[in-house]
């Protein structure tokens, strides 16, 4: 019989995994951004299911006596990675956005010159 905490340990990541897969299927989430989420969910599911063979030894290695806490710590680590990926993606989008905006400004000046030239002749 599973305890409550073990049901959460397994059920949470499984639900996350299904949600991410469904979002990718519906094209609500791009595969490249889904990758870290999928890795996170799979790692957490594996750790939770293989409690005695993997999670407890890993927790002991980390010096954590209550093994659900190890799962929590590992999950937090992955979350930080995902957040860092967000910041990197936002940075890239900002740069591209600025380039596009500059391009629009240059083009619209050019267009207004062309229009004026045609109007004058």
């Amino acid at each position: 019989m599973m305890s409550h905490v073990e049901m959460i340990m397994v059920g949470g990541p499984v639900a996350l995994l299904l949600l991410v897969l469904e979002m990718v299927r519906r094209r609500r989430l791009r595969e490249d951004y889904a990758l870290l989420w999928l890795v996170t969910a799979v790692v957490l599911v594996v750790l939770a299911v293989a409690r005695d063979t993997i999670l407890v030894p890993v927790a002991n290695l980390m010096g954590i006596f209550y093994h659900p806490t190890a799962l929590f710590v590992i999950g937090t680590g992955f979350m930080l990675l995902i957040l860092l990926q967000f910041s990197a993606v936002i940075t890239k989008l900002t740069q591209e956005n600025h380039k596009a905006a500059q391009h629009i400004a240059l083009l619209s000046q050019r267009v207004s010159e062309l229009e004026r030239g045609r109007g004058a002749k």
């Binding site: 900002t94 740069q95 600025h98 905006a101 500059q102 629009i104 400004a105 240059l106 619209s108 000046q109």
Partner: protein
């Protein structure tokens, strides 16, 4: 190979500068009648683009506010695209005196540097800087002088003239925000030579400084961080001039 009169572009970044822009444009025309002028309208909500058009300047209207760095870069892209020999940047708020543009141009052609910066602090000319800002500028100047091994007195000055080589470099790589101090270090790393000449700066005619007291702390941290982390970065050298 140098032409008699270098094709010169004056770049004026402007964000809601309707109060001062007309006067600045008139003064620029009077000081350097041979130069073309482009106003980079950084998403202004006021009559800035209208005034610029009426005064016969080119207008680059950014669809929304990008900040001074990206706005300036847009002007450099324009200068590069149209093959200007020299680009001069002048603030739209009336802080810089267009009458001194010829001094910048002369220094650029005579000394052979790639960028000439107009400095408020080489000799006293009655410009009063509030002391907290002065302290900040002195700290930045010290850091940048140390890094570049060259005396820099006014790294925050946005009153500058750049030759083709520097224009091409800035069009390619210019800091997005609070760009002036960081760009001096970028120039040095790119192998561009820069020099300063004394200029007089006025109190702004109108509008608001982009640097409020609250933002100064952020300004200092961002700029110092950008300079120091930038030193760890692989730096492209500027292309040799053609």
């Amino acid at each position: 190979m140098a032409a008699l009169t270098p094709r010169t572009l004056v770049i004026i970044p402007a964000f809601n500068e309707e109060a001062s822009l007309g006067k600045v444009l008139d003064q620029v025309r009077e000081a350097v009648p041979f130069a073309d002028v482009v106003v980079v309208n950084d998403g202004s909500a006021d009559a800035t683009p209208l005034i610029a058009t009426q005064k016969g300047a080119y207008v680059l209207s950014l669809p929304y506010n990008l900040g001074i760095g990206s706005a300036m870069q847009c002007g450099f892209l324009f200068a590069g695209e149209r093959g200007y020999d020299v680009a001069v940047q002048v603030d739209g708020d009336g802080q810089h005196d267009p009458k001194e543009i010829p001094d910048l141009l002369r220094t650029l052609s005579e000394t052979g540097v790639d960028i000439v910066v107009g400095s408020r602090y080489i000799e006293p000319r009655g410009y009063i800087t509030p002391w907290p800002r002065r302290v900040g500028i002195v700290i930045l100047a010290a850091i940048i002088s140390l890094v570049t091994r060259q005396r820099v007195t006014d790294p925050t000055s946005g009153f500058r003239a750049s030759n083709r080589r520097a224009v091409a470099f800035c069009a390619d790589d210019y800091p997005f925000d609070y760009p002036e101090p960081e760009s001096v270090v970028l120039f040095w790393r790119a192998g561009l030579r820069f020099g300063e000449i004394p200029v007089t700066m006025n109190a702004r005619y109108g509008g608001q400084s982009s640097i409020t007291p609250l933002r100064s702390g952020y300004y200092m941290i961002k700029v110092v961080l950008a300079i120091l982390i930038g030193l760890l970065r692989q730096q492209k050298r500027a292309r040799e001039s053609v």
